[in-house]
Chain length 249, copies 8
């Protein structure tokens, strides 16, 4: 709820430049566009140049392309996560400059910004090779939001010397996203080695008693290391959002 | 169990117009037709013009078409939920006027009735675009049963101004069906804003720790708002049935 | 959110009887009282004579009594659910006329209203004797809200003649609350025998694979009978709230 | 462990017709044939004419056909459950007279025996049309074992008059197999109406909170009706085995 | 539903010895007594001398004693399962001859009948010493119903020679109740060694990943031995009921 | 692993002021004290004045007091979470100035520091009154770590005007800890209204299908609002740790 | 099944020193003693001096003492696990020299043997102080079986320098038992640092989403380090048994 | 962490043959190769001739082939588990001598070594034919590691004479891997019959309430036989690793 917007309306009513009924009506029409199957926020993008994000999973290619086309304008920067190759084909028809990152299933419309290096670095750390698709969803999202990212992949605890070989890169980051499937122990070990916020992403990598990522999720929630915030299984995007908000401080 | 029917039989026995054995036999043959793989109620439809419903999931196209053909008569009105395109092909062969709503997987035989607007309105509200297939199952079912429906889609709580922008439509409804996946928080928020009955439908929209809709289901069952009745995950049809029974009051 | 209240404020601003800052401030102070550990709604009770409700579980006797004392006024009608005997002692100190229903763990302050019989009847139906505490929570709540209640207890499906012996009372109700633990089959059977809305309350009655009411909960959610809304395990209060909202139509 | 067989060996040793080492060796070679990927019991079939059973799920068509070919002899009677169409093709190559029941996924080699009607009847009862594949697995197995079966399909509790219409067939059976998905309430209702043993088979029919048959399974295990034995989800074969053992008394 | 009873009523109506309204009324009053918190079947006991059973768990001592006192008459035989010592005290006040079996928590009113040995024997088999309370619930119930019981305790599979030492007693039984906690493997092993029906009772004996008996329950449901019917965790009473029904054949 | 410490050792070895064996030995003795049942870090506290923390749950009062006594020194600042009243008695014997916060079960040794207000504020927000113990664990921990805390209690979404009445306090915070049981929807609603990092703490407040906090946990993990990090159920301490790390940026 | 014993019987039958019936009978009476509620193996102890073990949980003090008294003889060595103080009192009455280890709830009758140091060492490693009771169950059991044990406690991964400070003790062991609750990550880290077999024991230490040890259990089963065998939650005894069998090689 | 390696570095620093910065740097570069998506250990293989292992699941064929090509050298011996046919095609391009075992999905590069028979034998035992793929993963891995393997397949407890027919092969093994799905009872029975370590592998073989192997997993964890270590569902490879470590003693 946009407090400024509300205050504006009240001011106009007070100045008699807006009558009560119109004001009441305006409160019902905060700036988004209803296209039937979606209500699209438009103000942020228009005013601030910030990136808009579409969660692609569960939407048809037509719906995704339709939302993109309503968001399009000069300098629009749009990120579509969990996008299929079919969705990309549909988006290209309305935004020809769109690019598709197959591994992370991300579509990007608009230029990747220069990272604001002075703000510091987000380390994106994975336990294994199979966790990389989730890691790339996190890394590309953070980069699209303007953050600097350092990728540290395949440093799981079973061969802890691999982790220690890269511990200085991890320790010099300002926020750390730890991505691990199976038993997810990497989050606890990294959490015990650093002083900065750690965001843990369990992945569905594993089989049998991993129960689709449940083992890693429970492991991370019960971490004996403190200061770890957990997001949903495979939610690289959400981890990047939280990291970005922390970086903005 | 049809008390009138039972009373009728007893009366005939008393009047000697039916002997005891026949009466006992009649009690075993309440009016449905056994076609081997299904027992079809026929009386309601014939007498009252009410819609018959077939739950399509788990039935073969042949079985569905077979049941439809036994239900067919002048002015028959039949709804098939969870129907595949193949089922529709089979039904068309026995009921050529049948129409198929692809999004909601509903087959309808017979005309959509005029909504009885004086009875009021059912608001069908979704958190996101991906919940629309379940919402359409609910909305079309309610309309086929004669209710007036107002569709309010994509008003999830992450952007609560979208909900408030349409709150008067929601608040003016007589029954509200809230459909949401992921964390299902919309049910609680809507439940706190209205005085009328709320029916909550968790959906399987989500991934990871949504566990196929379990997260939304538990969320809705534990709602801190009172007066919310919950139905099965993705059960748009069931929600419409309950709403219709409430509207009949 | 009280639309009338909002409209009032806007009107005053327009009429210059309230300045913008005061209006903005007022929007932040909708009528509830902050007593530190709780924010108490006061308007409804004061204006309408409707009952206020306190959910007692998880609150200390002191907190409950404190909230009651802030709600007290002439003709106040207050219901405390899930209240311990200790809570009752504390409440009596601030509201000496309070009564305590031990079986349902309900404290009531203020007179039980005459049921509005013309509105119809809520049938509260249990499968067994052990379900009665939950049933009484539902029945007393509904009666405190002004509804007429018919109690039909111990009619579980294992001896279905007991159910049929009372089926006319059940079929003549306007809303039916079905309360059952163990396998919860009573909800489906009743749901198949009536045309009015059914609210199903699973209870934690049972042992072993009932898993604290999970079996009954899942059973009711998956009912083959349509038009059943389910509430949380043992949530007799919530069922009464929903029934009351339906009765108000 | 075949006590007769053991006793025979001991007797021979005692009579010096078998030396100790041979006896010890014999105990290790009870009559089955090791074909590498399976150890095939052969005695029962050879001596008694009883049917042999192969659980087809998880075995390759080649393995199934291989086991069948080792079991083949004059008058062999072999049942393969959970068999794919491919498995049937492979079996036909070694047992050309084999027949395949597509609905129940059963292959049968050898003639279906005349049911021993004097032993009584097994009623196989389903809640819905979608439960029929499991029911046919049960019914065909029982018939292949020589039992008389009465099929009573689609009599779920949502329309309880359908059940009562066929209650005399159910009540006149000697053992009842109740097959139901969704909430599985039929088992409790039938269990309350009969005096004979009831075997309950939960099915995976349903969606959402049925969790693959878990809801029906828990419901049946918690039945308020007594004397119900439950088997695994979709285990029509196991139910028939238990029913057959009871019928043999 | 008592078909004879229904037939009687119809006959009387036909013979004009009962009018229609009385008949309709009678159908609503099948012979049970409503005492408010319970509906008590009375006919079976009165006519047949069969035992009545009260499930004590979840009922107050007063409720249990109240039900017993309504069931009392000459030669009444009443079993109360899951009864506390307090319940026993209350029952003794209305039925002084009642006895209490502390281990199995069973109260018995009326004499234990002579077992009908010609009907055969039920073997009650446990894996361990800790399973004995559940076993005694089963054994005493079966004996109270008139069955002959052979107790074979503490023969779990970890020391399989203990099982084999008593295998002839097990193999000579007509129905076998296998009671086991922890991993419940005894059911499968016994099931593979006998030809008669096996009823498996998982118990809550165990800790950690036994999850209150879930491990044993799942184990028994998935048994590779056929012909095993499973009842609820710790449900010795239910197992005895099923065994008794099988013995009656 | 303390890189400085490691580097120091290597330097000494290089300068011959430490021989290889001593160095190897030193690496095994990083500065903690082994008291048999615990290994106590001592350096941080001694050098930096930072608070030490003991997780009290699962430790005996003697163990807690023993660890405290080994940590004690001038200006020691020690926090014990999840401490029983008995633990407090034991601690007081070794640290007489210790204070005990009963609601949050926290023992504090050493003075509460002045909050560094320029760093900003952590808002601790609860849905209900019953969530306050967890909230106080979070708030006191953060304050003990030197952070400024704003408590906003009992603003759950069922009465969303209560939340809006305090939205400016919430929106002006730098990090927000949202604490909610039942369905945990408050996290999503707050997450949609603010731009700063949100830490969500599910609580075990609730009953029935809340399954000890599972419902709130899943709800928060599946939040449709982005940028939310979740910690373990009831883990107020962990939330404060993460908030503190974010505040340090 | 004791092959030597079986062979002996057969030999005697062959030599006519035992007739067939006696042999058959003997097979049913392998050397254990049936005391009604338990079948006690006696041979091992008598012949070999090995320790006998009684699992105390779920047995009454009387039963435990009864079993001990039947096992008693000169030089008897008996271990009772999960024993209450009451059980110890009862045991002392029949075995006055028994000692009780309160922390691990172990009763020991007979002298603790000298460890066979040449066989090597079992390291018992815990993550935290709260895991020590389970560790002591493991350590005392192993010592009672004659193994040498090295206790390494409170070296969880959150402060990994504590682990590294003791890594040489861990790496020099021949078998390692890792005991950890919460997220159980210690098993993976240790597993990656050693070449010998690792036995992982999840404990119920933790709260919230540890779900009684489930999180640690799943974590250990999904370990990315290879060569880890997992036992039940809190099963220190079982871990010691497996370690002892490995040490015997 | 390689203590020798660490000691070496320290020695060089002490001898001035390596300066401090280089040493610190070296500690960060333990011998593995970073190829972007994976960090490959190279030392073991190069120095010792031991087999390297790649876990194929979740890696693309290109990634697997890439890792193999970096591991390749004269006499390289590489095992790829959970490899698809596509992965095999990609590996063949870089290692033409690679062979593919379709049943177990294993790729092997390099010669199968002669088993060191003097070390003893690992018995790999399965309950059924469907468990063989997991068994072959275990058996081939152990053989590739140089162990002698005895395969004993299809000896599940439902026909316990099959197990006893091969008990001498099982009892003469030095380590036993028991592989079973469904209820997994074979682990307990074998565990009770042998004195050597038993490694239990639950498999996902089964349906319904086996819940993807959960039933067998819980069964094995709760085994009443002692000395059983459990690995993840279907984890034949992990079982072989643990067996190999035990065999090395």
């Amino acid at each position: 709820m946009d407090v400024t917007y509300l205050s504006d309306i009240l001011k106009k009513v007070s100045e008699k430049s807006m009558d009560v009924d119109t004001a009441l009506e305006s409160l019902k029409h905060l700036p988004y566009e209803d296209i039937g199957y979606a209500n699209i926020d438009q103000h942020r993008n228009l005013r601030t140049g910030e990136a808009e994000v579409i969660f692609g999973q569960g939407k048809t290619p037509e719906q995704i392309a339709g939302i993109v086309s309503h968001m399009m304008h000069d300098n629009a920067r749009i990120l579509v996560t969990r996008a299929s190759a079919e969705a990309y084909e549909a988006v290209k028809a309305v935004a020809p400059e769109a690019v598709y990152e197959k591994l992370s299933k991300i579509i990007m419309v608009g230029a990747m910004p220069e990272p604001k290096a002075e703000k510091g670095t987000i380390a994106v750390v994975t336990a294994g090779t199979s966790d990389i698709p989730v890691a790339e969803e996190a890394a590309l999202t953070a980069e699209f939001f303007g953050d600097k990212v350092d990728r540290v992949y395949d440093v799981g605890v079973a061969g802890i010397h691999r982790l220690f070989g890269k511990i200085d890169r991890i320790q010099s980051a300002d926020v750390i996203i730890v991505i691990a499937g199976m038993e997810g122990a990497l989050a606890s070990v990294v959490g015990g080695l650093v002083e900065v916020p750690v965001i843990a992403v369990p992945t569905s990598v594993g089989y049998g008693a991993s129960f689709g990522g449940l083992a890693a999720l429970l492991s991370m929630l019960n971490s004996c290391a403190n200061g770890i915030g957990v997001v949903n299984i495979d939610n690289g995007y959400g981890a990047a959002c939280l990291a970005n908000k922390i970086m903005k401080r």
